[in-house]
Symmetry: D2
Subunit: 218 residues, 4 copies
């Protein structure tokens, strides 16, 4: 029995909810099975605070000793579930975090490498979500806010181990857009849950990722 750690964030940017936490908390304790593969899902909330997010991640890794980690975050304005390709060693906060900090052009880890790639089979996961009827794609940037910081910190911690890690950005919930009335795309919790489970099963069962393009011209 493997353990898959799912992290979600607390609300930020004035929102009362964060879809990433709504999504993963409902799966806490769930068992998932794909062929011979079986895993237990564990959900942990991370603060949207540069100075505390990675300590919370460390505690979760220590406590749950996962085989696979997928960090999830809100990407307000995106229309589908996007698996991030790469985390960069940079914090450049467009808005203050939940503690009021707003680092500009500061590395996540001063002596760290410039970037880490996802070690999850992101193309197999995208294909599995689409096959499940859920819009999904690969993203080439996780931004430069706390999401990217956590993704970078996660991949740094997992580097050299057999534990695989990655990051999923998700749209607003419909209720958020209904309140904000900003015309942004959204995705229901049911659709996202359906997609996430398909993606997790693909991650569990896939060793060598699919060789299909999800590239961007720019």
């Amino acid at each position: 029995m493997k353990t898959m750690l799912l992290t979600g964030f607390e609300p930020f940017d004035g929102e009362p909810v964060n879809p990433s936490w709504e999504l993963v908390k409902a799966l806490d304790g769930t068992l998932v099975t794909q062929g011979d593969h079986q895993a237990r899902l564990v959900a942990v909330q991370l603060p949207c605070v540069f100075s505390r997010s990675l300590a919370a991640l460390d505690a979760a890794l220590q406590q749950h000793q996962p085989d696979i980690v997928l960090a999830v975050g809100q990407a307000g304005g995106r229309s589908d579930l996007t698996l991030e390709r790469v985390a960069i060693n940079l914090m450049d906060a467009r808005i203050p975090d939940n503690d009021g900090a707003q680092p500009v052009d500061v590395p996540v880890l001063p002596a760290g490498p410039a970037a880490y790639f996802s070690t999850l089979p992101i193309k197999a996961m995208v294909a599995a979500m689409r096959a499940a009827g859920v819009p999904a794609s690969v993203s080439q940037t996780a931004g430069s806010f706390v999401c990217n910081q956590v993704f970078y910190g996660l991949q740094h911690r997992l580097a050299g181990s057999e534990v695989r890690g990655g990051f999923l950005h998700i749209p607003y919930l419909p209720e958020q857009v209904a309140r904000l009335a900003n015309g942004a795309p959204s995705c229901s919790l049911e659709t996202m849950t359906h997609g996430l489970l398909a993606a997790l099963l693909a991650a569990l069962a896939t060793q060598t990722d699919l060789a299909v393009t999800e590239g961007a011209l720019h």
Copy 2:
């Protein structure tokens, strides 16, 4: 007991489904209640064919003698449920319809007025959808394809009567975008159904529309 006629379209543009028909057909026969107001919902499919759509609409009006009519159509690329403000007396087909016809700059009704406004309380309906947690807005154009033709034809038939009519454009379903992989926004059938019912109840209970702006600068 009032009757609310809901129309949806058959699939077009190469798609195997049309979300407008998926949405309304599941509500056929449903009773809805708001305060003292009660209505029975009837769903009818219309062909996506300029030369036959209005005859099918006529048959439905004749058979069901509705008090309120809401025609629904797919607006692939939009991110929310949009109540149309106005129908124009023009057909300019960007693609051929399901019979291969592609009229360019032809009026829907040669001697008809240039446009008809919706006679539904579109702002109360938008407010009700948002209050129900469903992204919604007013649109200032229904395009120039079969949706606009049906909307224009509907309002022309209802002009002078006490029957109120309007048009709702809806996003792709998630399964469509998953297949097309075109990055378009989508909305689940559950979310759309929840929103549509809220909108219909608002239409049933509202005589004078809300005086709140849903205007566009351009």
Copy 3:
């Protein structure tokens, strides 16, 4: 020698310039020639004020007795030069005008028809702009702010006469987007001027518009 009246608006929405006035004022007094056709261009500024815009338009029509009128307005967020198809009998102001008025769901003309179509050869004009290397398209909605009010008022005044009229919406200038830093598209004054002159010559020389689609599915 014909006269073509071009109107532009004063700045609004907090902007120090309005590209529509920058565009047309530089052409005031210009002579344009296409084959046997020749016209003198006259530029007039209109206030971005619901209660005064049409009086200013009336004065300009009275003074210049034009053969062709093209009203021009800023459409911040659009990426190309868009010839409007239709003006609707409605004011629904998303923001206050320059006098602080914000009408909601009020007709431009209480007893007027629901809409007027452009009487310019909009497809020939779009084709001419593209042939000149300038991005252009037909728009199915002019919004519900002062631009639409002026377009509606113009077409109402010209109805039944031989004078042809229409409306052109244009993007932000680069300098506006550089200041706003909002990521909106823009178009240089040089490119817009080049496109406008091509469009005006097409309007001058075209009696029967091109039968090519510029329709919208929704």
Copy 4:
């Protein structure tokens, strides 16, 4: 007297021109001055071919021994001049290159680091472009096509030297969008040239970049 090497690409993706080459070739041989700083601009064209782009870059570096290098590429669909933040060690070609090659998930340099950051003062350059009235911003991804490959290869070659390098992505030219009729944003060559010169002068005169955010939430 310093030397600034500007590279542009040959046309690709079926286009007859590439705005990046149109932009830089016109500046070949130009002298620019900012305070005590002076530089000569040199323009070189690179093939849009994974297997030959870096050899062409090497030849240009060898021949011109530049102090500053700015590679420029077309980003069809973007609306402003975007200075790239980071190049990643990955090729994932959404379309074939000009030799028909379409690598998927192949590193640019098998033993290279995951990414390189720009070593140009990108925020000072963005600020200078905006001050010159030209829309500009920082981009967090250069994609995964030949542009990113050249940017990565450039930064790898310059690593450890005092030569600074970076990448600028630019919109379509108006003439491209007029032909494609795809509704994409565009920018005139004049506006882009004006912005590029302002950016180059800022690069020449700035040692320590501005500490202002140009971050992205996702």
